[in-house]
Amino acid sequence: MYVYNDTPTSRSASANLQKLCDEHLKGQCDIEIIDIMKKPEVAYDEQIVAIPTLVKQSPLPVRRLIGDLSNKERLLVSLDIGR
């Protein structure tokens, strides 16, 4: 997950992500939170425009989700996570 600094959106995105992992993917997820304020070059490499952006790298396909992940429905569908 790519965030920027400590904005409310970034915080709530991180929180939602954590919640998602705990609730649906117990122990099966590998989360990395990268703050592009601290590492701007990452924004280039990963082509980050919107913040926050969640990049699901595996299982394929690679998916990009933008937003604070508050829309849980979309989140689950996008990540192919069954209930």
Binding site: A43, V49, I51, R63, G67, L69, R74
Partner: protein, 573 residues
């Protein structure tokens, strides 16, 4: 967040270095502000923006950042490499930074609130890394294609523009034309300082490009459309030149290359920096006349730009050789520059811009366009006049003498087609066919020539291996004669002359003879008279003598008969 700086009274400007543009805007783009460039596909938005950046580095020492939303690295370099921008070089020198932002809508799912901070981070990083003063976002509309939450996008746009201004960079944002609003997504709402529209239209199969400054806050700007063209050097825009007719006028005269023509023009030739129209029907020798002028110009060591719209330069040179004028040495010395292009290939404006560029680089004393016929039939009459006005204004402003040839058609009133443009011309030379006695010869006369007294007579215009010559035409009881009829009549005249002279001589001889005759008669009469005179005098003397003798004898007798005489006398009394 930085403090927003108070708006300055005088708007600083950032020079673009794009030919013509800085003139139109009197200094370039608004410095530290955002300019929106709108145009359809292929109008040159990216090119303009890239030229702005590259010139910024090369000419004004201002590094720049180019953010491409749509083109790939390769494509961008390719498209601009042909223009000699050598982007990679500048990137390596850390004067230019190019960033490619991909927004693949299919990949993106929106799951809640977000902002575009990633964009800001990248942009900020790019600007700071090279100390950029110029930024281009091409095309920013791509974010609308990528993200669907318009409310967020618009808010972020506003934020972005404010942020750019705070950064103190001069930015260009490009956008596509929209069907209703100026741009598809209404970007013009966010850009308040400067909006430029690029237009590319096709009229009668010829493409014309025009630029218009729709908005430029705080600056006076021409609101007209300006034609521009794109070539291997990039974009060139033709500014409208002197709106006032205030170019310096001169009394210098230049020769046309044909002495007798100079004689017809008040004895000295054309005025420098005037416009001259040479018109005539096909085959009357307009090009020859024009090139003779070119030849004369080069002979005097001055440069001439000759633009032909119908023949190739080689053909022209060959043709002129046949009348004894060799143009090749001038071409070799760089005094004569010949360019050939089909007039119908480009639109009027493109031609104008091309001429502008060539004149700027060559700086000739004379420009010849041969012929302008097709140029003036391509556009509507009003357009044509406006185009020519601009061209002539521009050339006069540079003290360049301009000559145009025009083909008129047999049958139409000779002066009909040119009525629109003739008022722009200071001098008008007309070549016409004179058809008499089964022959067609060329006649030349000067229809008008401002500022000088000119001959109003028609001269016969002759082309031969020795060059161009103007002859007096024969004006006699049979009317105007030219060509072989003239020659014949002149021969006749000469013959008559000779005859008359013979006559006179004969009469004079006759007179002489008569005089002699009379003279001799007089002499003989006189001689006779003298002889008679002598004779008569002699007789008179004799008579006188006789009389004297008689009288003496009488007196003698009387003496002898004195007494008797007296007494006789007494008796007879």
């Amino acid at each position: 967040m930085q403090q927003v700086e108070p708006q300055e009274e005088v708007l600083g400007k950032s020079l673009t270095g794009i030919q013509g543009f800085d003139q139109i805007t009197d200094g370039g783009l608004p410095q530290g502000r955002i300019t929106l460039i709108v145009g359809g596909p292929g109008t040159g938005k990216t090119l303009f923006a890239m030229q702005f950046l590259v010139n910024g580095v090369r000419m004004y020492n201002e590094p720049g950042v180019f953010v491409a939303f749509e083109e790939t690295k390769k494509k961008l370099a390719q498209n601009t490499a042909s223009l000699g921008f050598k982007i990679n070089e500048l990137v390596q020198q850390k004067k230019l930074h190019v960033d490619y932002i991909y927004i693949e809508r299919k990949e993106i799912e929106e799951t809640g609130e977000y902002d575009l901070e990633g964009l800001f981070v990248r942009l900020g990083h790019a600007i700071d890394s090279i100390g950029a003063k110029r930024v281009v976002l091409d095309t920013l509309e791509a974010i609308f294609a990528g993200f669907s939450n318009e409310a967020i996008l618009r808010a972020e746009l506003r934020r972005l523009f404010r942020w750019l201004e705070e950064k103190g960079v001069t930015a260009i944002v490009t956008a596509e034309r929209g069907p209703e609003m100026l741009t598809r997504y209404g970007l013009e709402e966010y850009v308040s300082d400067c909006v430029i529209v690029l237009d590319h239209r096709i009229t009668e199969q010829v493409s014309t490009r025009r630029l218009r400054v729709v908005k430029y806050r705080g600056s006076t700007h021409g609101t007209n459309e300006y034609p521009y063209l794109i070539d291997e050097n990039g974009m060139s825009i033709l500014p409208i030149t002197s709106i006032g007719l205030d170019y310096h006028s001169t009394t210098d005269r230049i020769s046309s290359g044909i002495p007798r023509l100079d004689a017809m023009l008040g004895g000295k030739g054309f005025y420098r920096a005037t416009s001259i129209l040479v018109s005539g029907t096909a085959g009357t020798g307009k090009s020859s006349l024009a090139l003779s002028f070119a030849n004369e110009t080069c002979k005097n060591g001055q440069k001439c730009l000759y633009m032909t719209f119908e023949e190739s330069p080689n053909q022209v040179i060959r043709n002129m050789r046949s009348i004894g004028i060799d143009l090749l040495p001038w071409v070799d010395k760089g005094l004569l520059k010949m360019t050939a292009v089909r007039s119908t290939y480009y639109g009027l404006e493109t031609h104008l811009v091309t001429i502008h560029k060539m004149v700027e680089s060559l700086n000739p004393a004379v420009v010849i366009m041969d012929p302008i016929t097709n140029l003036i039939t391509v556009g509507a009459a009003a357009d044509v006049k406006s185009m020519l006005t601009r061209l002539i204004d521009y050339l006069k402003g540079k003290s360049i003498t301009a000559m145009f040839t025009n083909l008129t058609h047999i049958g139409s009133g000779l002066e009909a087609t040119e009525s629109e443009i003739s008022s722009l011309m200071d001098t008008w030379v007309l070549l016409r066919d004179i058809e008499i006695g089964g022959e067609r010869n060329r006649g030349l006369y000067i229809l008008k020539s401002r500022g000088m007294s000119h001959s109003n007579q028609i001269r016969e215009f002759l082309l031969s291996e020795k060059g161009i010559n103007l002859l007096d035409i024969y004006v006699g009881p049979g009317g105007v004669l030219t060509g072989s009829a003239r020659a014949a009549r002149e021969a006749e005249d000469r013959a008559n002359d000779v005859l008359r002279q013979d006559e006179i001589a004969a009469l004079q001889r006759e007179l002489e003879r008569k005089r002699k005759v009379v003279q001799s008669q007089v002499e003989s009469l006189q001689a006779g008279l003298e002889a008679d005179e002598q004779e008569i005098k002699k007789k008179i003397n004799e008579s006188k003598l006789r009389q004297k003798v008689t009288t003496e004898e009488s007196e003698q007798m009387a003496k002898l008969r004195k007494a008797d005489a007296n007494s006789a006398k007494k008796q007879t009394k």
